[in-house]
């Protein structure tokens, strides 16, 4: 890979400006509770459609990295995570804030989020190519199982209800069959609507599921939290130290490194993400800490580990997304959707056919994290002021932006209707505890599943044994079964214990 040319491309004022704009948008979105990184990436994607792919991804990756980092700002300031990935930062960050050390906690969050982000980007740069090279040896049967593995992992972490996770995933798969049949071109479920010939557009569905439904659900479950926020914000001191001392850095480096490693490893697993990795990191670093009693009461090690871990998961999630075409989380699912929007073929061939572009993505990731450092340190305290804005004002504007965003990608009113229907469906899904992730993944991976299933059956004249005639296919099938069965077993065990 030609990194020198990638650096030259990215260190161009226009690209840097787009990264900075993305970082600023992510900073605002991540800070505001209720606006998630998935929502931000989904809403920004249609805006980037008219840009050159490098500019577009400069902005998208800026938003993605920054939103994960800035989710920690509201977690620290008002005990409410800005994005789900920041849940674990409330444990110690908020305690530090209540002791009048808000600025310091925000400084730790910024520095170690960047640490985790840079670490995971280096891992992405090292691991992506060998993984893609391995995947190039995959045949259609392996791809079929790989797509199913991604879906199965997403379902298996639907703790609340595996059956509902499976159902959501199956609905996503069914939706992916709308449009032209991928092998023979038969029209399927298009109802003579020309706009549906290309299938259900992914981005409007994402905007509906993560934008419209989230806003409506927040309005439905509206609680009077604005007053409590103001009280928390009023408590904050203005003049305390932001940067940690060298001694404090020494205490935090090992937990942050562990957190980053866990972040990358967890992020690689499809269906997981920063929220899970940060919780695991907090628990692991607490076990090995010399001061475990401080965890949960304002431990700087706990805060550093969780901050590094959720940003560490970003690089991990991108590794599987770029190398295999299987998204690590919902945000990377949108990024994959954006790649296809730019006409790129996702999967292992991306690294051979668009190697230059992937190289630029790596450098954008590095630069985005480096930009977050000064921007975060300088503006984190100012961002807290955003938390004083009444949530209703934001929700109202976001609803309008969702409509425009869904329309602007293809200038299609059908896309707006798809977004609206997805929004209503997402609202009921949230209400009755159906996980949204499997549905998104089903929609994204459906075509890959179907095409490879049918290709395999064509090659074997309809003999399904061909699906498991290589060691990799067998291994992937075992992983799929394990991913689906293990939550059921643990559920049964928990029930037995309860009895």
């Amino acid at each position: 890979m030609d990194y020198l040319s990638a650096i030259q491309h990215v260190l161009n004022p226009a690209v840097l400006l787009f990264i900075l704009a993305g970082v600023m948008v992510g900073l605002v979105v991540g800070t505001l509770p209720g606006l998630t990184s998935v929502m931000a990436v989904s809403l920004i994607t249609p805006l980037t459609f008219k840009l050159d792919s490098t500019y577009g991804f400069a902005m998208l990756l800026g938003v993605y990295n920054s939103a994960i980092f800035s989710g920690g700002i509201s977690a620290i300031a008002i005990n409410t995570p800005g994005t789900p990935a920041s849940i674990a930062q409330t444990f110690d960050g908020y305690s530090l804030s209540r002791r009048g050390r808000t600025g310091f906690a925000l400084g730790v969050n910024t520095i170690y989020s960047v640490f985790g982000g840079l670490f995971s980007t280096v891992c992405l740069m090292i691991a992506c190519e060998p993984l893609a090279r391995l995947a190039l040896h995959f045949g259609s049967a392996e791809y079929f199982w790989l797509a199913f593995f991604g879906l199965a992992m997403m379902i298996s972490i639907s703790h609340a209800n595996v059956v509902k996770g499976l159902l959501a995933g199956a609905i996503g798969l069914l939706l992916s069959t709308v449009g032209l049949d991928p092998l023979l071109g038969n029209k399927r479920f298009t109802f003579d609507n020309v706009s549906l010939l290309n299938g259900i557009t992914f981005i409007p569905v994402m905007i509906g599921l993560f934008g419209i439904s989230e806003m409506l659900y927040q309005m439905y479950t509206h609680k009077k939290t604005d007053e409590r926020r103001e009280e928390d914000i009023a408590h904050m001191g203005d003049k305390e130290r932001v940067l940690p001392t060298a001694k404090e850095h020494r205490r935090m480096t090992l937990p942050a490194l562990l957190g980053s490693i866990i972040g990358v490893v967890v992020g690689v697993v499809p269906g997981t993400g920063g929220d899970i990795s940060a919780l695991i990191s907090w628990d692991v670093t607490k076990r090995i800490s010399k001061h475990p009693e401080e965890y949960g009461n304002g431990s700087i090690e706990g805060l550093a580990a969780t901050s590094a871990s959720n940003n560490g998961a970003v690089g991990g999630a991108l590794t599987t997304a770029l190398a295999l075409g299987i998204p690590g989380d919902s945000s990377t699912a949108v990024l994959l959707g954006a790649l296809t929007m730019y006409g790129m073929v996702t999967g292992p061939t991306l690294l051979t056919k668009s190697a230059d572009f992937v190289g630029r993505l790596y450098i954008i990731m590095l630069v985005a994290n480096l930009i977050i450092l000064p921007v975060g340190l300088l503006t984190a305290k100012a961002c807290i002021k955003l938390l004083s804005v009444k949530s209703n004002y934001i929700q109202m504007a976001v609803l309008l932006i969702c409509c425009i965003g869904a329309y602007s990608m293809n200038r299609s009113y059908t896309d707006v209707i798809i977004m609206f229907i997805a929004g209503i469906a997402g609202f009921f899904f949230r209400m009755y505890q159906y996980p949204l992730g499997p549905m998104v993944l089903g929609l994204l991976l459906g075509e890959m599943c179907e095409t490879n299933l049918r290709r395999t059956l064509m090659l074997s004249n309809g003999n399904p044994v061909r699906l498991i005639n290589t060691p990799i296919a067998i291994a992937l099938m075992i992983l799929v079964v394990a991913a689906l069965v293990s939550p059921l077993i643990s559920d049964l065990r928990a029930k037995k214990k309860a009895k």
Binding site: L166, Y220, T221, L400, S408, V416, Y432
Partner: protein
């Protein structure tokens, strides 16, 4: 007898949708394909059957262990108020999508936001300023800078 909950109804909706898709698959798609390809039917048929089975499992589970969604909303005044607001916002959104087809975006967007401000009982002057400024800002951003024609 146990009460029917929203959870059960949603399960039944999915089961019915899967049954319709199964019927559509088998009536509208060709059953045969060349070169050993199992055809365009196989995948949607398999997935529809899976949805049907899973939806029945959800219905059975919801009868045994229902999840409270809208249930009890009418008994709790605070929940009732929030639910009414969400419903009104939803209707406002539907109205906006309808109006957007017939009147310019600036007008449709203003009406959409203004009605929402009314739903949230904001002051009249604030509602006008907020609705106008947000609509114009978004119009300028998309129409002028991103060249997206917002008038359908």
């Amino acid at each position: 007898m146990k009460k029917i909950t929203g959870d059960t109804i949603l399960g039944a909706v999915f089961a019915a949708a899967a049954a319709i898709m199964l019927w559509l698959t088998n009536t509208t798609l060709p059953s045969k394909a060349p070169m050993g390809d199992p055809g365009a039917r196989i995948f949607p048929t398999g997935v529809s059957i899976a949805i049907l089975i899973l939806a029945v499992a959800v219905i059975v589970r919801s009868v045994r262990k229902p999840i409270r969604g809208f249930e009890g909303v009418l008994q709790d005044p605070e929940k009732k108020q929030s639910a009414t607001r969400a419903l009104l916002v939803f209707l406002d959104l539907a109205l906006f999508l309808l109006l957007w087809n017939y009147i310019p975006f600036l007008a449709a967007g203003f009406i959409f936001l203004f009605l929402q401000c009314m739903i949230f009982r904001e002051k009249l002057l604030f509602s006008v300023i907020y609705s106008a400024s947000v609509t114009v800002a978004l119009y300028v951003m998309f129409s002028v800078f991103l060249k997206v024609r917002l008038n359908l």
